[in-house]
Amino acid sequence: MNVLDFARAFFSDGAHWHGYDGIPTRFTEHLTFSVEALLIAAAIGLPVGLLTGHYGRGGNVLALIATAGRALPSFGLLVLMFIWSGFGTLPVMIPLVVLAVPPILVTTYEAIRSVDPSPVDAARGMGMPETRVLFQVEVPVALPLVLSGLRTAAIQIVSTATIAAYVSLGGLGRYIIDGLYQKNYDKVVGGATLVAGLALATLVVFWALSRLTVSPGVRRSG
C-alpha cells in the first residue's frame, strides 16, 4: 500500500465523517485553536511592532526576542507547560503564541521601518496627527509585509497545533498521534493530509486578504 491508498482508505470510511472523533469536529477544533492563537499573537505582535517601527526604537531588543522565540522548541515548551499547568487549553496556547509572536512582531517592525520617509515627512508637514501618520500613511504601504508576517505565523500555528493532541486536546493531530499509537496508518496519513490542506487553505485566505486590503498603488509599485 502506498500513501495514496492510505489516504483513500481514511477518507472513504464513513465512520470518519461524524461523531466526536469525526473530521468535521477535529477540523473545527484545529481551526479554533489556530485562529485563537493567531489572534492572541497578533494582539501582542502587531501593536508592539507598529509602535517600535513608527518611533524607530527598540530594534535590537526585538531582534533578541525574535531569536529567542525561534530557538525555543515548541514541543518542549508544550510538555513543560503541560507538567506545569496540567490539561487544558493553556499549555497548548502558550507554545503556539510564543511561536507566532516573533514573525509577526519582527516583520511588522521591519515593514514600518522600511516605509519611504518622504511621504511620512510630507504628511507631518501637512499637519497630520501622529496616529493618522501611522495608520493612513505608514500601515497602508507596509501592509503587504505585515500580512506576510501574519501569514508565516498562521502557517506555523496550523502545523504546530498538531502537537496539541499530545496533551490530549483535540484537533487534527489526534489522528496522527492516535494513528501512530494504534499503528493505523490510514489515520496518520489522513490526518497529515488534512493538516497540509488546512495550511494551503491558510495561504489562499491570506492571498485573498491581501488582494482585498492592499491598495493597487502599493501592490504594483512594491
Binding site: D116, S118, P119, V120, D121, A122, A123, R124, G125, M126, G127, M128, P129, R132, Q136, V137, P140, V141, V214, S215, P216, G217, V218, R220, S221, G222
Partner: protein
C-alpha cells in the same frame, strides 16, 4: 508677513545649523533661500512650520509667534512641498491632493471637486485623477505635490528643493508653471534650493546663506548680481553674472532698424537701394527670417538659401530681456540680432553696438534710481 527673528538652531551634539538668522519674508512674493549644503536653508524652512524647533529666537507670522497656535493647525495653514514630492503611493492622485482639505474636515465629495480644480491649475490632465503615483513621471508627481500643497488654499507655501530631482527640461517647465501659478494666486512662498540660477529665476527676494547657517546677503536677484555683498556671494553666484544680470534689463527700448530687411522675392531695384548695408536679412513670404545675405551676392527674385548666414536666435522686444537680444547678436556671425513679433515675423534688426549702448543706458538708470532711493 513671516519674520524670522534672530533664530539659532543648535543640535545636542553642538552642531550649529542656523546661526542668529533674521529675515523678513515679504507677503505675496517668492523668497528663495539658497546656499551650499550645510548652510541651514532646509532647517530654516522647517522651522517655519515647526518641523524643527529653534533653540533660540522666534518666528512671527503676521506679528504672532508661531508657537501660539497648535502645531497641526499651523501646518495645515501652510502648504508643504518636498523633493521627490512625497506622494502617498496607496492613494489615487485625486485623493493625494485632497489630503489637507480632508484633514480640515471638508466632506469627501467637496474635497475631491477641489482637488480636480487644482489638477487643472497645475497643468495635470484630468485623466490622471484615478491613477496612482507610480504611474506618473517625476515631473507629473511634482505637480501633484504642488497641487496637494495648494489644496486648502493656504496663504503660505513652503517648498523644499521641490524641483531638484527632475531633469533640466522638466525643471524649467515646472519653474515656469510655478511663476504662472504665483501670478494668479499671489501666495507667500518660501523656496529652498541649492541652485543659484533657480533662485535668480524664481526669487522676488533671495537670501544667500553660508555654511554654518549665517546670512550672507538678502536682496532682490538683480541687486545680488550687480552688487554681491562679499567674495563668498560673488563666488557662489558663479561666472558671467554680468551677462546674467542683463536678464533684468528689458529689450523694449532697443532702437530697431527695418531697412536691412528684404523679402525673398525682392527685385533688383530693392536690392540695389540697400547695397550700402553690410548685410541684409532675408525673410520668407510671410516675413519670417531666413538668414543674412551680403547685398552684392543676393540674386533678385530668388535667393539661394544655402548662401545665407545664420541669424542666431531671434528675440521678442518687450517679452525678452537684453540678455536674449545680446545672445542673438553674438550667435550670428554678422553681429546683428533679429527682433520678431509673437508669430515669429521679423520686425527689425539691431546691432551689438546698439545693444551695448542700451546696456550702458540701463546701468545709468539703475544708478540714478539707487541715488534717488538713497536720497530718500
Amino acid at each position: 508677513m513671516i519674520r524670522i527673528d534672530s533664530v539659532t538652531k543648535r543640535y545636542p551634539d553642538g552642531t550649529v545649523a542656523v546661526d542668529r538668522l533674521s529675515l523678513e519674508i515679504p507677503d505675496r512674493a517668492i523668497t528663495v533661500l539658497v546656499g551650499p549644503s550645510g548652510c541651514g536653508k532646509t532647517t530654516t524652512l522647517r522651522m517655519i512650520n515647526r518641523m524643527v524647533e529653534p533653540s533660540e529666537g522666534s518666528i512671527l507670522l503676521d506679528g504672532t509667534d508661531i508657537r501660539q497656535q497648535p502645531v497641526n493647525t499651523l501646518r495645515r495653514s501652510m502648504g508643504y512641498v518636498i523633493q521627490n514630492a512625497g506622494l502617498f503611493q496607496h492613494r489615487t492622485i485625486l485623493d493625494n491632493i485632497a489630503t489637507v482639505p480632508r484633514l480640515l474636515g471638508t466632506p469627501k465629495k467637496e474635497a475631491r471637486a477641489r482637488a480636480a480644480e487644482l489638477m487643472e491649475r497645475v497643468g495635470l490632465d484630468s485623466a490622471l485623477a484615478k491613477r496612482y503615483p507610480y504611474q506618473l513621471s517625476g515631473g507629473q508627481q511634482q505637480r501633484v505635490g504642488v497641487a496637494r500643497a495648494l489644496a486648502a488654499d493656504p496663504p503660505v507655501l513652503l517648498m523644499d528643493e521641490p524641483f531638484s530631482a527632475v531633469d533640466p527640461v522638466v525643471r524649467k517647465g515646472l519653474q515656469d508653471e510655478l511663476l504662472r501659478i504665483q501670478d494668479e494666486l499671489g501666495k507667500t512662498i518660501v523656496f529652498v534650493t541649492h541652485d543659484i540660477d533657480e533662485a535668480i529665476k524664481l526669487g522676488t527676494m533671495v537670501a544667500v546663506l553660508r555654511t554654518g547657517g549665517r546670512l550672507a546677503q538678502f536682496a532682490p536677484p538683480a541687486d545680488l548680481l550687480s552688487a554681491p555683498a562679499d567674495a563668498f556671494v560673488e563666488d557662489f553666484l558663479g561666472a558671467d553674472r554680468g551677462i546674467r544680470r542683463l536678464s533684468f534689463f528689458p529689450s523694449a527700448d532697443l532702437e530697431l532698424q527695418t531697412a536691412p530687411i528684404v523679402g525673398v522675392d525682392a527685385d533688383a531695384d530693392k536690392l540695389a537701394a540697400r547695397a550700402d548695408a553690410p548685410y541684409l536679412l532675408v525673410t520668407d513670404l510671410d516675413g519670417r527670417p531666413l538668414g543674412w545675405g551680403e547685398p552684392d551676392r543676393l540674386t533678385a527674385g530668388s535667393v539661394e538659401r544655402e548662401h545665407l548666414l545664420d541669424f542666431g536666435r531671434p528675440f521678442v522686444p518687450g517679452d525678452d530681456s537684453l540678455r536674449t537680444a545680446l545672445d542673438g547678436a553674438v550667435l550670428s556671425p554678422t553681429g546683428w540680432a533679429v527682433a520678431v513679433d509673437g508669430d515669429g515675423r521679423a520686425v527689425g534688426v539691431v546691432s551689438q553696438q546698439v545693444i551695448g549702448e542700451a546696456i550702458r543706458a540701463a546701468h545709468r538708470r539703475v544708478a540714478r534710481n539707487t541715488e534717488v532711493n538713497a536720497a530718500r
